[in-house]
Amino acid sequence: VSGPNTAEMTARLLAALRALDGVRPWCPVARSGPTALLPWDPGALAIDIADDSVRIRLVARRLPLRPELDEVEAVARRALAGSRWARAGLRLVVSDLDPAALSDSA
């Protein structure tokens, strides 16, 4: 099967997610300080790609979640389109909330 491999699809999804204002990819460590020196993108830990499913972990920057997840779903489906994961199950997991999400709704 031609098309992007798992690493390429991960990078494609990360780029799509990082273009959004309302969410960011979840990352277990800060992307600054020593971790900025890592030779790989720790943001990749937010994406799990299996044969028939794709899981994306997110940090929400805005509330309510529904419109933000609608947008995530749309960009993720666009990124997956035409690849072997075009019909994969998509699991969007909002793992954390950015403090900015609450300051906006205060």
Partner: protein, 136 residues
């Protein structure tokens, strides 16, 4: 705090089922953050009171350099699809405790449902202390 909870399997947010192959999961930390935010803004609440677990989560969050909304004083788990939220807090003596507790439950339920789209949560409140002359 950047505490990452393990997310139990298969929780569908209302309204998402029709999207046949997409599932949406709201983590406990997200619900806890929304609940904490709503609770401390309720009249009569002085502060949330994190227990040992909450303090450990805060420390872990600082160690990993995470940037997540605070959840200390709030514990969340799922009972099936239903979020169960428990809050430990300190209230002022300005209002009857039962009245404050009910106001917290209403405020938290509203904020969590509106913000995260999860089913109506079960909310319990423990008032650990009454701070006479508290700020509210």
């Amino acid at each position: 705090m950047s505490q990452q909870f393990d997310v139990p399997a298969a929780r569908l947010a209302p309204g998402s089922v029709a999207r046949s192959s997409t599932e949406r999961v709201v983590g406990e930390a997200v619900i806890a953050a929304v609940a904490a935010h709503a609770a401390v803004r309720t009249e009569g609440v002085v502060r949330l009171e994190p227990g040992v677990t909450g303090l450990l989560r805060q420390a872990a969050g600082r160690l990993t350099g995470g940037n997540a909304a605070p959840t200390a004083g709030v514990d969340v788990h799922y009972d099936g699809d239903i979020p169960v939220i428990h809050l430990d807090l300190v209230v002022s003596g300005a209002r009857p405790v039962a009245e404050v507790g009910a106001a917290i439950q209403r405020a938290v339920a509203h904020a969590v449902i509106e913000g995260t789209d999860v089913p109506e949560p079960v909310i319990t409140v423990s008032v650990l202390d009454i701070e006479l002359g508290g700020r509210r």
